[in-house]
Symmetry: C3
Subunit: 172 residues, 3 copies
């Protein structure tokens, strides 16, 4: 096998890698559910999965007491309160002051479909890599220990692009 | 041609495949229009196109009588009514109780741009593969015959990832 | 080096290209900020970056006087007014009649994070390729000189797919 062919095969390895990376920007219940459903579905069939949480998506990885105002000044405190945590996420449509997610949860457990909380647990178990966006944390006054322990690292865009190289990247 | 080279060329075939897959999650008129515009534009220049409809996106492939409440219990009936069908989709911004989509349709037909309904027809004609998300159907109490006949199959995440392998995947 | 291997290596070049293409559909302040943050972050580490602005995303590249009603008839004039320009973009959540973006801008400048306007400037400096969607311009009655000079061209879907081939494509 000559060098060129090795290189070519490396290309194959790299480009066909079963790798899926998700930029989780949205904080709504239905979009987060979609993100975690795709992520756990992919991990279950052997994909390497990376999720990069940014902006509203950071809600998904906040500690349960994340509802409490966090951050070091008034404006970030307000945003912290408004963003809430995983159990306070609205739906992107038909939220009805919070009843929308409740209906969804009902429908999901009634029909034996994993709920968002169960999906997040599954993501941890399946070894999905969870990353927090450095810049958004900075803007919103969040620190690494505001997040669940499974969050691997804080990343910038460049590092995320490097980690997700050679696979598919979707923005949710 | 030796085996390694064959493999390498297969890599090329796989990774350069003119293949585009769309996860159609959103149910808004403007986002669905974007999804179908990209899909038909790609199919027209020889791309294999797969659309995987999930959550609100399922609106796009419901039969015209899809507006009627479907599903087998009260909560799914309510959701069925709220989701409506293709001709009841709101815009993501400036919906104005349904006038937004009407203005868009006006502008589109005035300027000789295909409307959403025409785009869906074009998608069928161009042989775009339409799939429904198994899990979302389950949650929302939808059955395969609630959808237009062109819907090829119900898929889970794993099957969709397999079908869309080697191409680009976008989430709308 | 034989022909097959050359072809295989070309495959490598194409498929591993550090190329990122963004379909910027959304017009909200937070989503546009995400789009430009990813774009400039990628360009800064040597990626070729293409942004294809469509629908509400066209707001990002309108000239400052873009707030004025543009277009050639009543309905497009109304849409032009509603869409506004870069400095009038709402946030996708917690907009509070325009206070949301103001809070974000405050937080961003307080924490030394580039604001949306600065990110757009950076995109120009980094040589990011900005394209406007031909069809959306047609629907909304926009002309090429309604946009900032850095907009390279008006493109249809097919041309955009060609330009973005071999890299990653995300829809925001």
């Amino acid at each position: 096998m000559n060098n060129d062919t090795i290189q070519a095969i490396e290309a194959q390895n790299i480009t066909n890698a079963k790798k899926l990376s998700i930029i989780a920007f949205s904080g709504e219940f239905d979009r987060l559910t979609a993100a975690f459903t795709i992520a756990t579905g992919a991990a279950a069939v052997g994909y390497e999965v990376n999720i990069f949480f940014t902006f509203w998506g950071l809600n998904a990885i906040k500690k349960e007491n994340g509802r409490a105002a966090i951050g070091n000044n008034f404006i970030t405190k307000i945003f912290g309160l408004m963003m809430g945590g995983l159990s306070n996420t609205p739906t992107s449509r038909f939220n009805f002051c919070g009843i929308g997610p409740w209906i969804f949860r009902k429908l999901m457990s009634k029909n034996n479909v994993a709920t968002l909380e169960q999906l997040v647990e599954a993501a941890k178990t399946l070894g999905i890599n969870l990353y927090a966006c450095e810049m958004a944390m900075h803007v919103l006054g969040l620190k690494k220990n505001d997040f669940i322990n499974e969050v691997k690292d804080e990343l910038g865009v460049a590092s995320f692009l490097k980690i997700s190289e050679g696979g598919r990247t979707i923005f949710i």
